[in-house]
């Protein structure tokens, strides 16, 4: 009986599902999406690449001449790099639609403006 009642009630309500990808639910606060680097703040200490458990971050060059390569296909969004950065140069964004067919396109490079 309760099942029938529930079904009847549902008839007059909006559906709980969203028509993704046409409709998107806003991400919750503290969501860990793709990390981005602010190279104006980065001092090039290399801690993020050292602590990354999945080896998704590569630092090319040394110190203030260095650049960051982030292989998002390896990233597991654990936010460890954000934790260890001494200067808040890394932020987790709310970007989560990162799937694709070509792994070579999943590389994000961060260079310094000279």
């Amino acid at each position: 009986m309760s099942l029938l009642k529930e079904a009847l009630q549902r008839l007059f309500r909006k559906p709980v599902t969203l028509k993704y990808p046409f409709e998107k639910r806003p991400v919750p606060e503290g969501f860990r999406g793709r990390p981005v680097w602010d190279m104006r703040k980065c001092i090039g200490c290399g801690l993020c690449s050292n602590v990354c458990p999945s080896g998704a971050i590569e630092m090319v060059g040394k110190g203030l001449q260095s650049e960051i390569k982030h292989y998002v296909d390896r990233c597991m969004f654990c936010s460890q790099c954000v934790e260890s950065c001494p200067r808040n140069a890394i932020k987790m964004t709310q970007e989560y639609e990162l799937a694709g067919f070509d792994r070579s396109k999943m590389l994000y490079e961060y260079k310094r403006e000279i």
Binding site: C45, G46, N50
Partner: protein, 512 residues
């Protein structure tokens, strides 16, 4: 000064700060080090593991060290929005005398108990959620330990003025990383305040949680081990007998259970820490609020409010009836004593630097940096004229002003030097605080300003480059130079003080 920096900052830190013995054990490097390579244990700074194994490049520990030359001008920006600046006080909004309303509080703390009352109120009202300060042990009343207080009652025992090093900056790091606090009030000496401000201008992650910085006025810190040994030898005082040491009129008064002993400053000076002997900051010029003893008033404190945050929190404590204030203007003696000690600290530091330079010993990089501007700053000064940076509204006095009146003027307006003009507006000379101090206190009401003015008058012309005026000041070791008309050298046009120069270096474009 480390001209060219090493890729690993610890190498610089060791070479320029630790090995020459300038470290004052604040622990800022320990708090800032991203891989916890440094640790303060007892009275030494330990390098636990080789950081170059984990990092390719890292400037942090040297940058945040209060004795390094890095970020010095940047740290100034935290206080430079204050409306007033004077050589004796730094940048400030208000100077006043204050005390805790609760007499019990005044009894348990030094001076007026202002800091304790202020912080207790801040925690209760939720402005801050914890206080990082120093506290003493009951067994050893002079040895300070860093402490983190989370509840208002705990602050009672925590805030203490002392003369021994304490790793408060390290404790600040712990409060953020281990206690997870987000609104922290920090209490420390001028060098510890500088360390925190350096962390802040470096944009280190942990200072996101810094809410309020309270600075104590501090003459020097002692290496307690050496101080106790010498006290025992010369005065037969056992460390266990000492209940507190207070600075009064260039003498340290050692309070013991039954008696007190007065010791002149110079006798114990050799036991101060290496970094303190060349330190020139007495009033914690970068703190939100600076607090110090108001000798000869027993249970009042001098409070210098420098920033907006400081003003807001202090005013709230006053409004809540925890702190009562009175004006400093009617207490020239208090002000004179404070400025006298500040000048004494600056003077002894400069003498010490001369001595170190003479004997070829290294000078702390920060002092070097303060005394010797960078090439680009010198070229900036040479590109500006004296007229562009001078202060045009100068407070002057008449030759008949007595020194006592002059001290009252100083207490009111906080300028340290006043040009003397005669009735025809002709420049006669300048009287500074130092000149007054040479006259014994009982003579000051009889002596006139024109009698103590120095023979030689240092002047510059408005069309000269600012660099020339600056060099004149450095060469003659004075804090201010008068600007006079080239045609008529008796006509006063303006004044340049050291703070004008600092202001110019910080914000060359900003007109005052």
């Amino acid at each position: 000064m480390a001209g060219r920096r090493d890729l690993i900052a610890y190498n610089d830190l060791k070479k320029w700060i630790i090995d020459p013995g300038f470290c004052t054990l604040c622990g800022a490097c320990e708090a800032a080090c991203p891989i916890h390579s440094l640790k303060i244990e007892g009275e030494t700074l330990q390098y636990i593991h080789d950081c170059s194994e984990h990092l390719e490049f890292c400037p942090i520990c040297y940058d945040v060290c209060p004795h390094s030359e890095a970020l010095l001008l940047e740290t100034l920006s935290f206080v430079t929005d204050a409306p007033n600046r004077r050589e004796s006080l730094g940048y400030y909004r208000k100077v006043l005398l204050a005390q805790a309303v609760d007499p019990e509080l005044r009894k348990v703390s030094h001076g007026g108990g202002v800091v304790t009352a202020l912080l207790t109120n801040s925690i209760k009202q939720g402005f801050v959620d914890s206080v990082v300060a120093s506290r003493t042990d009951e067994k050893a009343p002079l040895k300070l330990h860093p402490s983190i207080s989370l509840v208002p009652d705990d602050v009672f025992s925590a805030v203490d003025v002392g003369y021994s090093p304490s790793a408060v900056a390290k404790a600040f790091g712990r409060a953020v990383q281990e206690y997870g606090k987000t609104k922290i009030a920090f209490v420390g000496t001028p060098c510890q305040v500088l360390a925190l401000r350096k962390l802040e201008s470096w944009e280190h992650k942990i200072v996101d949680s810094l809410k309020l910085v309270v600075g104590f006025m501090c003459l020097w810190c002692f290496s307690l081990k050496h101080l106790f040994e010498s006290l025992e030898k010369t005065h037969n005082i056992k460390p266990s007998q000492i209940s507190k040491i207070v600075l009064e009129k260039r003498e340290y008064v050692v309070y013991m259970d039954s008696e007190t002993v007065r010791i002149p400053i110079n006798e114990v000076r050799k036991h101060i820490l290496g970094g303190c002997s060349t330190c020139m900051d007495y009033t914690a010029e970068l703190a939100d609020i600076s607090v110090g003893g108001a000798y000869p008033l027993e249970d009042w404190s001098i409070v210098i409010i420098r920033t907006e945050v400081g003003e807001e929190i202090f005013d709230h404590a006053v409004k809540n009836g925890l702190i009562q204030v009175k004006s400093l203007e009617n207490e020239p003696e208090v002000y004179t004593h404070m400025v006298d000690v500040a000048n004494f600290k600056r003077k002894t530091a400069l003498e010490e630097i001369e001595k170190m330079k003479g004997s070829g010993k290294p000078v702390p990089p920060i002092t070097q940096r303060m005394l010797q501007p960078l090439p680009k700053e010198l070229s900036l000064l040479s590109s500006l004229t004296v007229e562009q940076i001078m202060t045009k509204e100068v407070m002057t006095i008449s030759p008949d002003t007595t020194l006592e009146e002059l001290l009252n003027i100083m207490t009111k307006h906080h300028h340290m030097g006043y040009p003397i003009l005669d009735e025809n507006k002709q420049l006669i000379g300048i009287v500074t605080f130092e000149d007054i101090m040479k006259v014994p206190p009982d003579q000051r009401s009889k002596t006139k300003a024109s009698e103590v003015k120095p023979e030689k008058l240092l002047t510059a012309y408005p069309d000269e480059p600012a660099l020339t005026a600056y060099e004149k000041m450095i060469n003659h070791r004075v804090g201010r130079i008068l600007i006079v008309d080239r045609e008529d050298p008796k006509k006063l046009l303006g004044i340049i003080t050291k703070t004008d120069i600092m202001q110019t270096l910080r914000w060359p474009m900003k007109r005052r």
